[in-house]
Symmetry: C2
Subunit: 416 residues, 2 copies
Amino acid sequence: MLLVQKFGGTSMGSLERIANVADKIIKAREAGHQVAVVVSAMSGETDRLIALAQAIQAEPDPREYSMLVSTGEQVSMSLLAMMLHSKGVPARSYTGNQAGIHTNSVYKKARILNLDCKRIQKDLAEGRVPIIAGFQGVDSCGEVTTLGRGGSDTSAVAVAAAIQADECQIFTDVEGVYTTDPRVVSTARLLEKVTFEEMLELASLGAKVLQIRSVEFAGKHNIPVRVLSSFVEGNGTLITFEENVGLEQPKVSGIAFNRSEAKITVRGIPDSPGVAARILGPISRAQIEVDMIIQNVPVAGIIDFTFTVHRDDFAKTVEIVEEIARELGASEILKDKKIAKLSLVGVGMRSHAGIASTMFTALGTEGINIQLISTSEIKISVVVDEKYLELGVRTLHSVFHLDQQEVREEWDPHPL
Amino acid sequence: MLLVQKFGGTSMGSLERIANVADKIIKAREAGHQVAVVVSAMSGETDRLIALAQAIQAEPDPREYSMLVSTGEQVSMSLLAMMLHSKGVPARSYTGNQAGIHTNSVYKKARILNLDCKRIQKDLAEGRVPIIAGFQGVDSCGEVTTLGRGGSDTSAVAVAAAIQADECQIFTDVEGVYTTDPRVVSTARLLEKVTFEEMLELASLGAKVLQIRSVEFAGKHNIPVRVLSSFVEGNGTLITFEENVGLEQPKVSGIAFNRSEAKITVRGIPDSPGVAARILGPISRAQIEVDMIIQNVPVAGIIDFTFTVHRDDFAKTVEIVEEIARELGASEILKDKKIAKLSLVGVGMRSHAGIASTMFTALGTEGINIQLISTSEIKISVVVDEKYLELGVRTLHSVFHLDQQEVREEWDPHPL
């Protein structure tokens, strides 16, 4: 197979770790794979450079900032090339410019426009390991640009797309994507495979495995992405972009949760067209993001309107809502910061209507009152009292048998 | 004037020092000059990077080595650009590649082939300070090359030549070129001006002010070079390439000396053609450099042959000479490591035959016996007993009035 392997800052954090990275690359080559590599700066290095810049200016010029921090990857990539040489493997390192990673000119948040990967392909054809600086590119004027923090994942996926790699392997400090947080549920299981959509939902829980933009990019180019650990042996989790899911697809892939939201209910509003917009408009204009929105059918011309925001925005939101509530003639405002959101995630859910009732029954049996419900194609979320978070997650993890090995017919592991 | 200012690693060694560099640039601009800047890496940084490489391989691949160490200048130049911005001065930093410094492909000792300085000139025309990474360039394949240690001086001169600068100012940790070492002669005086040839002779004493290749380069392109201190205010020393020296030219510019040589005399060799070659041939083949060579007219068909080598090569040289001396039928070999070489340096010497006798008389008056004499167009060197070094230098410094201000009609200081 043709693989792109991406190693993050922690994986490249010292000469010992770079030696470990070299060994992983060599192992993949010995297994018969062709390997192109994308690296981040050694951990701490980017922060060191940023600290230097900010000791001069709080807001350094983006062009010079990119010039400065892009040296981090240039150091780590050349050290990795030397490390491979020292182990007898031919390798060459490339800056974003040399690798032909063309971006727009938004220096600190540049977007990749296209890749001219002739040199990478020549190296691969001639048995060398091309090592490409992640996180950086070059604009049409020849200026160094950076993709923004975490952009190395995007670089890796872009290289994989350009050279039509069979798989883009993101080595990181987690072993992959789990059915839920192992710190909450000890039987949480590493998923062998998740779909892109599932990954987005599961990653948003806090287990930020991959930079989301890079995964979107991978989906657009249909590049299978595998997340795996630099430090623990294993196959990690493969992220796929399959539309057609077989019958054996499990209904639920994992359980996401967070306790970062707060709930606000405006009660007793006389129903009239545009009420929701009257409430949400000023909140949105204040740059506050609203997550769940619940409005039931009116009772006797009166409605209750509930929504959740991030806890950091709670005080500001309450302030805005109190004014609107007066104008709307609402009877009261209920405020609650002690909530938790639990979400069942799974593409299999689309065709399995019974899942919601299983979920609600299981929570009810444990005495957990459901305050809000919201659903999407591949997700059912409920809001419960924060104190039930761990119990709720464990209950759902068990009732949907997430601790048991999944069975997927099309599963085809690529052992490394 | 259009100036190129070059700041070395010590001058760029910390954020405080970079701030000081920015102030010097601003001062020159406020005096009405246009300034382009060439920088080295922050002191210690290049060594840090080399240590990382050598922890992996004793002889790292030159391409990757250049890739690695070239980041040093990229960091310092972007920090200087930010520092200038913070002081309200527009500036842009450029890698060797971006500045269009094209070199051959001898990675660690690359030679500059040509400069495409469009961007530098555009910056100057638009009132910005272009800041160029010293010590690095790009070859015809787009690979990063480095010029070798000290190459930043050469970069500065090359930029000065390309943009036809009026002066290339090398800021360093010495104040300029002195009449002799101030540690030996307290009245040693900073020279306002020396010729290129004088500078080569005076620099070779140990006061290695500039990288010699850069000065040769400046001479070839007729770029006046000024050496001055980053830390002490002053006009430094201007190095010129004048062929025609006015009448007011002082006879002697300075006094060079060293105690790093050793003397070997082969006595009582029967004179025959090719004797000198028989002695020097094997020494040269052993990669030993011979400095002074003295052979007088034969007396009764017998000659004495004397030469000096670096003390580090003394033992090896003696070994070689002893064998040849036997073959030549020489009577004895005299060996002396306790010698010192004193040299009067000055372009004015060419037309002043009396200088040698003044020199010899002054030394004789002080009881200093002259062991060897050697002369060149702009230099008279003598070898004396090492114990007379300080006395000899002080005597000559005084007798040629080097502690008194020189008078040069064409002197036109450019105060900064």
